[in-house]
Symmetry: C2
Subunit: 125 residues, 2 copies
DNA sequence: CCTTGACCTGGAGTGCACTCCAGGTTGTAT
DNA sequence: ATACAACCTGGAGTGCACTCCAGGTCAAGG
């Protein structure tokens, strides 16, 4: 019962991406062409899942798809692109840190406003 | 020279929103109708700027415009909506915290990957 | 048998948040 | 006087990232 090749629906469930999105990402070249079962159905292996997780994270933190495509293209091109890949990740890290800052500031603002509202609710509930 | 009413271009500069976006937000009711100079040009007061800053933060942290419209509508409706406004802000705060978590995880992942790449660059620079 | 559900393809459609444009007025600088 | 920049309106257009659809194949269950 310990399957290691998953159907697209199962991958969708596990990753939270939709079936459509998984095929879409493959079309865009973000995923390598997925292995097929004899009936033509996709079978995702562990490495595909790892890739999907990474991509999901990049998207969730605001990297545009075009950049992810570039990154994957570099990855495919081999070791000579390591430096550029690192630089891309560094740039994205900067963006992630900036987002964290913005979110932390907003967090404080929201907490203050919520607190103020709670005060007002206390005065005339 | 200490003006307190600003033209739309100045507001755009200060806030980082575009002139178009400022008019767009006003159309959507996110901003109250902006005061006009005799020539019909908008003059933004300090309260408008405060509002814009708040809206900007909500957007930057992922609140959809439709929700911001709802919040502003509640605000206009007066004190009886304080509770619902607080609940909205609490919900958004939850989302902000979740985003921070995701970003922190991704930050760690990126730092690890960058580190690994630096290692590899060290071996055959 | 035959229905059901998960999968397939290629291509069209959607929602969001802007962004741009045409055509026009006004106030300031040369 | 005139050129120029900044503003105005209403409406059309854009880019992104999906999401949906029609029409079809295939395997298992009743």
């Amino acid at each position: 019962m310990t399957e290691q090749k998953l159907a697209i629906g199962q991958v969708a469930q596990q990753t939270g991406l939709s079936v459509d999105t998984l095929r879409y990402y493959e079309d865009l070249g973000l995923l390598d062409p997925i292995e097929r079962a004899p009936n033509g159905h996709r079978r995702y292996g562990p490495r595909d899942l790892t890739r999907i997780d990474f991509l999901k994270r990049l998207r969730a933190t605001g990297m545009p798809i075009s950049q992810m495509q570039h990154y994957v293209a570099l990855y495919r091109a081999g070791d000579s692109t390591i430096r550029e890949r690192r630089e891309m990740l560094e740039a994205h890290l900067d963006s992630v840190l900036a987002q964290i800052d913005m979110l932390e500031e907003t967090r404080t603002l929201l907490e203050r406003k919520i607190h103020a509202y709670l005060q007002q609710e206390g005065h005339s509930p």
